[in-house]
Amino acid sequence: MIAHPQMIFGSLMLAVAAFVAWVFWSLPNGSRPGLFFSVTVVPSFRDSAEAARIGSCFRMQVLLLVVIGFGLVLAGAMLDWAALLILGVLWLVAGPLVAVSLAHAKALPHAVAHSTVREASLAPRRSQLPGGWIVQLSPFALLLVTAAYVAAHWKQIPDRFPVHWGVNGVPNGWSTRTTMGVYGPLYFGAGLVAMISLLAYAVTHAARRLPASGAGDGERDHPQRMALVLLAVELFVAAMLSLVALLPLMGSPGVTPIVITAVGIVIGVIFLSRWQSHGISNSAASVHPGDGTPDSCWKLGLFYFNPDDPALLVEKRVGIGYTINFARGAAWVILVLTVVLPLGLAALAIRNRP
């Protein structure tokens, strides 16, 4: 039995929406015990009735927002209405963040003074990127091999070929056999991978290492683990854009992009679960409330702005990974290079699609 393209797209979107919902659903318990929705609290607060009330209200909001976002994406795809589809994606990303800010506002009255104690490990910092430069260059190598393959089969590429398909499986976007038309996805992929590499470099060199507070914490090296995650993302991006570049030779993408996305989601779920459980068990031993940063520097509970902190990247209070210190000039450079520029280029590419 061959699945209908609409069913495949719907299933994929449902998986993405479920993933987003799961990530935000597990947020309340995913931070350090002394933090609750970006607010410094006593560790026992998380077990209180008030915390349970705030947490369940947040989860209900997230569920509702994700269902609406999923509906918008699906409707946009069915009607082939790009604006609605983009709105749905933005809704899926921004909606739960608004819910976080609302929960943050509810938790603020329960804030306690943050610890004035600061601790730093004097162990040498492992600033080398995981696997060394050879492994770090593998996403670029993948793109390069694809480019070489495409060049070797240049004559087999049709003068005009489809690059985008509607939900019904019918091509609705075309490109031509030109250097930009064929190698464009690979250029874009190389740019994206370079931006993510820059982020990984910043994480391993300019992020604050969390204070080691409990047994076994000395082994914890968040920047290194984050760099590993970013490498996986680079490989994922390189694989997807290599696939796009091979489309003129393949004819139809088939189910390969879905398989790659599904594998990415499964790996993401496994990784996030392991990271969260590990992080909580380690930080449970901490005797200092919070993370040493003042609550007032966490705008809306999400954005860190602290001119007195020399750190460029600090661990997020909500979720996993790092966030930039918006008070540092270099943070804005990173933001532009890693978010604004790629999004702008993608928007430009979509707009100029033949």
Binding site: V117, R118, A120, S121, L122, G218, T293
Partner: protein, 137 residues
């Protein structure tokens, strides 16, 4: 041993942060937690981890370098020196004795029993005075 090599400061204390860093590092150096030739975090790294200004950490490193504990080199950061035989500086010894007397007097005033204080000081002197475990390996 990872937790032994931790530096802790408290921003709420009236004592300047650079002094707290100097004291904390000096205690670790005296206890032999670092092998001569070992590298300490760079000024930028330590400042980032502690969330204090770079100049604060740089000043602390300069003071420790002045005491002969560290060698500050461009590009190599702060390197721990072999300092088995401290320089006998009489003025510093007198200053230390005065500070110690003041500290003990304050502890007694605050209600710390004299016997407990003596035992604690003896244990500390024994811990800091014994040969370095790392150097002995």
């Amino acid at each position: 041993m990872a937790n032994a090599r931790m530096l802790r400061i408290d921003l709420a204390l009236p004592r300047p942060v650079y002094e707290q860093i100097v004291s904390g590092l000096r205690a670790l150096l005296v206890a032999g937690e670092f092998v001569p030739g070992e590298q300490l975090p760079t000024v930028r790294q330590l400042a980032t981890d502690l969330g204090v200004h770079h100049n604060t950490v740089a000043e602390s490193y300069r003071l420790l370098a002045g005491e002969g504990w560290l060698d500050l080199r461009r590009r190599r950061g702060a390197v721990v020196l072999d300092r088995e035989k401290p320089r006998p500086i009489t003025a510093e010894k007198h200053g230390f004795r005065q500070r110690l007397e003041e500290l003990i007097a304050k502890a007694i005033t605050d209600g710390v029993p004299r016997a407990a204080l003596a035992a604690h000081m003896a244990a500390l002197a024994k811990k800091l005075g014994k040969p370095s475990k790392r150097r002995g390996r």
